[in-house]
Point group: C2
Chain length 594, copies 2
């Protein structure tokens, strides 16, 4: 410690909100260089390398072959697959001195596909799974939480190549198991969630989420154990209803109903229902969103959801694929004066708006499409906006009075919703994505023309999988999972050292005893962090021990005059006084028991 390049901090860094971020900075594990860009300081690099080694070992055991591609990549392959554009501002791009376009790799499907195309030509060469452990670059709009969402991060990315779908299933299963082995060995809790494949394309996809309240991702769990990313939750289509007995729609003046709740109150007063009072879910809430296309075109559209739910923009985005979705701004709305905020109804949007558009004065604008949540049954009647301030309409029947452009998963998923598998109500939890496995299928192989000869001498397009683990993020997740208010509590398998030896007091005897113990431990192959700082008080040394989070400590202090030293276990707080001559053996037996 007297020579180590580390300085611990007592104060939390100003930009840190989550514990792992605070503690990794305060413990001198990482240091910020720019937003979302960090240095691994010596202690951090040690922990990171241990995480990386476990990932590598399990990938190798699973038969994957390691290689290392450049991070600085030419534009062309990403142009062919359209990802140069699809990634949008998330892609770091640059030009070289000859004005050629390059990018910093956010993921490497294209480059691995080309490598296999270049080197392999026959079904006999397959299957093959290749991987690399590398710094990836994504220009996140809001980097946060230290290593949990950074702009330069280490990823283990693997790619499988198979001649047919059955082969892909097998390769996928092998990787899935390898991921379980990795997180099991690291001691990091995880949930395997069904996931949309989003911008990646392909058929099957699962996320490994570390469940934690600070997570940015929400996932659901069913009583059956099934888990899914909220974006992947499928809402059953509400069955068609008979509307023959529903009266004609009627417009009602509703002066004091700016919200769903007030609207329901107003209707219960003005138009009370016989059997049941009106509920929020009898209203149809129409929300104006914008799909931002990769070329920055903004397409305004409207989604209708039952009034008891909100719109989940991320679910809409996942459903739409390669666009970013956000709430419409005032400028967006200004293009559509027929949309009266708070009173938007279906009569001026979707198929209805197309009819109106024909009569417009010719100013060019994109058609205003209208999508409904699958909970909106054909034939169902709704209270909704009448497109005029202070007016609503009721008994407006979908399929009789208005049409839509289709259904979209738009509404929030709520605690207690019925699981898709019918096993009971869903619970909602938060997590951090630590791994992701995809069956890409033939998307990249088709785009980049990766074909091999099959058993019959015919060319076949290869089918692919892609498998990622955020290695640096996993390290942060471990810090998040294993900490208390005083500091980190590393699992030994990734700890920067096995034992922290603290000299708590003055005098050559104390340092002499510590030197001897450190030599024995190092001789036996244990990693030791030796706090040999002469002019630092025991209190500061204890605080640093607790902050740094090495799993075991030996404190050599006043007790030494009676032949005693103290063994401490960081995770449990246990303290054991042992004879100095037994310290080594006692410590080793503690470590073996754990």
């Amino acid at each position: 410690m007297s020579q180590l390049f580390v300085r611990t901090l007592r104060e939390d860094p100003a930009d840190a909100e989550v514990a792992s971020h605070k503690l990794l900075v305060r413990g001198g594990y990482i240091r910020r260089n720019a937003p979302g860009i960090y240095t691994w300081l010596p202690l951090g690099l040690k922990v990171y390398r241990k995480v990386e080694a476990i990932v590598r070992e399990e990938m190798d055991k699973a038969g994957a072959q390691e290689m290392l591609l450049p991070a600085l990549l030419p534009r062309e392959p990403y142009e062919v697959t359209n990802r140069w554009e699809e990634y949008g501002p998330t892609l770091f791009t640059l030009k070289d001195r000859k004005d050629a376009d390059y990018l910093l790799g956010p993921t490497h499907e294209e480059m691995f596909t080309l490598a296999v195309k270049d080197m392999f030509s026959s079904y006999k060469d397959l299957p093959v799974t290749l991987y690399q452990i590398q710094t990836k670059y994504r220009d996140e709009a809001r980097p946060r939480a230290g290593l949990l969402r950074s702009r330069a991060f280490v990823m283990k990315d693997a790619y499988s190549f198979d001649i047919d779908d059955a082969g892909l299933e097998t390769s996928y299963a092998v990787m899935r198991q390898a991921y379980q082995n990795i997180f099991d060995r690291l001691g990091l809790p995880y949930v395997i969630c069904s996931a949309m494949s989003g911008a990646m394309g392909g058929s099957r996809s699962e996320e490994f989420l570390y469940p934690t309240e600070i997570g940015e991702d929400t996932f659901v769990r069913a009583p059956s154990g099934y888990a899914a990313n909220v974006e992947a939750v499928v809402t059953p289509q509400a069955p068609e209803q008979d509307f023959s007995s529903i009266p004609e729609s009627e417009i009602v003046e509703t002066p004091d109903a700016p919200t769903i709740d007030t609207l329901v109150d107003v209707f219960n007063e003005l138009r009370p229902r016989e059997n049941d009072s009106w509920q929020a879910n009898d209203t149809l809430k129409n929300v104006v969103l914008v799909a931002v296309h990769p070329d920055s075109t903004r397409e305004v559209f409207v989604v209708g959801v039952p009034g008891g739910r909100d719109v989940d923009v991320k679910r809409v985005e996942a459903a739409l694929g390669s666009v970013e979705v956000e709430m419409a701004t005032e400028e967006d709305l200004a293009q559509y004066p027929e949309l009266v905020p708070g009173y938007i109804g279906p009569m001026v949007i979707g198929p209805q708006s197309s009819r109106r558009s024909a009569t417009e004065d010719g100013e060019e604008r994109l058609p205003l499409r209208y999508f409904l949540d699958p909970r909106v049954a054909r034939g169902s009647a709704w209270i909704t906006g009448a497109n005029k301030k202070n007016y609503h309409v009721y008994n407006l029947v979908y399929g009789r009075d208005f049409e839509a452009d289709g259904f979209i998963e738009a509404a929030t998923v709520c605690e207690g919703d019925m699981a898709e598998d019918g096993s009971g109500p869903l619970s909602l939890e938060r997590g951090i994505e630590i791994g992701h496995i995809f069956q890409l299928g033939r998307k990249y192989a088709n785009a980049l023309d990766l074909k091999v000869l099959d058993q019959n001498g015919k060319t076949q397009v290869v089918t692919m999988g892609s498998y990622g683990i955020g290695v640096s993020r996993v390290m942060a997740a471990l810090a998040q999972q294993y900490h208390d208010e005083r500091g980190l509590m590393w699992p030994r398998i990734v700890a920067p050292a096995d034992v922290h030896v603290v000299v708590a007091g003055k005098g050559d005897e104390l340092y002499g005893a510590a030197d001897t113990l450190c030599a024995s431990l190092e001789g036996a192959g244990y990693d030791v962090l030796y706090d040999d700082r002469l002019k630092v008080s025991p209190g500061v040394k204890f605080a640093d021990y607790e902050l740094l989070g090495v799993p075991y400590a030996v404190v050599i202090g006043r007790g030494l005059k009676d032949g005693k030293v103290e063994i401490r276990v960081r995770a449990t707080g246990e303290q054991h006084e042992v004879k100095v001559e037994n310290a080594f053996d006692e410590l080793v037996s503690f470590m073996k028991e754990a």
Copy 2:
């Protein structure tokens, strides 16, 4: 080999000129992704990692602490030290989504300086030496020779921080020894050359060069053993001469003297000298060069060297510091019509030209400075151009008839020149820079304000060293050093495997014997490359063995029916028939002897 992601090539890649480049590509060690940007394929990554591990071990042994900085760096620190501009087009730069400037790190002096500034504050924290092993980025104008000059390359860069010059000397000596240990262990020949520090600034600097004919750098060796980069060769200033007996200068018509040789002939005919004929070194050759400043300003200047030597642009560049130097183009010359190509003389340049400039018609141009090689003695007389086609002047005396703006190391260093240390004639050799150690001094610490408190409680600017090894280049240098016309011949310490087991023939017995041998070897901790390909001929397998360059092979072929297998040593070509049951022991004893 039946599953390994490798394909060997029989043809040299079209863009490869040097053996290491050809063989690393043909052997499936590396694959090109863009000019000067390569993938490490599985075999290449294995060799690279072994080189890296040795570098790391020796750095750790020397007490340096490993960390890892980002490759994507903010502009500001490089702005402060002026390197954002000085690096010019060699720097890869980009903007993030918020339009902030970033660069891909070509070297990290600034960032390490800031890390130490952030974390350390007292002389008690020093000395400290920090290092990282990382991909660096330099947009070379002419990437070539595969990994020898690439645009993304792995560098081990270390930085030492000391309170005083004596400390820096010690830190520098420790790193210098570590470098010798590294190259000694790797078996890579090297010469330690005194070097100019070029754009890095600072006081003392040495290059580790791997001597090879394909090298781009030229260095000199003196009989004493002293070696230096040609850029670092110091030419003694020629002593002042008495010119009192030299007649007035005279312009001579020289119709057929466009070159130095013809000029000498013409003077020997028209103005023969009494004691000795005129020689090339009696003429003063004036060469027009351009200093390209970091802001792209082109400054034309002239250097005068004895006619028996050429101008060495690299030496001029090293002498000038942070500019690029090149020969003047026609456009450059067009600005100075007084320069008559082939007949340029001092009377219109340097201090003489400034006098003339006053009478010019006011068009703005930079003053045309004039520098002399130190071999040009004050008081010496020369034959040189008269600034008029077909006319030369002689008896033109430096210090009497013309002046210059200073001296500069401009002339080529020649085989046989006297060594600076007087030990005898220099020999000239070529090499590749594999390591470089610098005493940076206080340049970066001053620029970035890195100060600590000294023993007396006063702030002191820290003094620094910087120490680089091109790790990927070292791997290529090893391939270059250890190859023959058939392929690579890796030293065992970095070989992708210890033993290459080749089944040369058909039948289960052969593969059974090979399986057993591979299992024994792997069980004993040896790395084995097993050529188990069923449908590949022995000829192809032997060619691949020789190309891939694993140091030892066991060939299991027809001899097995007589209980014999063959051990081959790649480097020597030795072949030994041994009993199959002794193969393991014999092989191990071969490997131990080596």
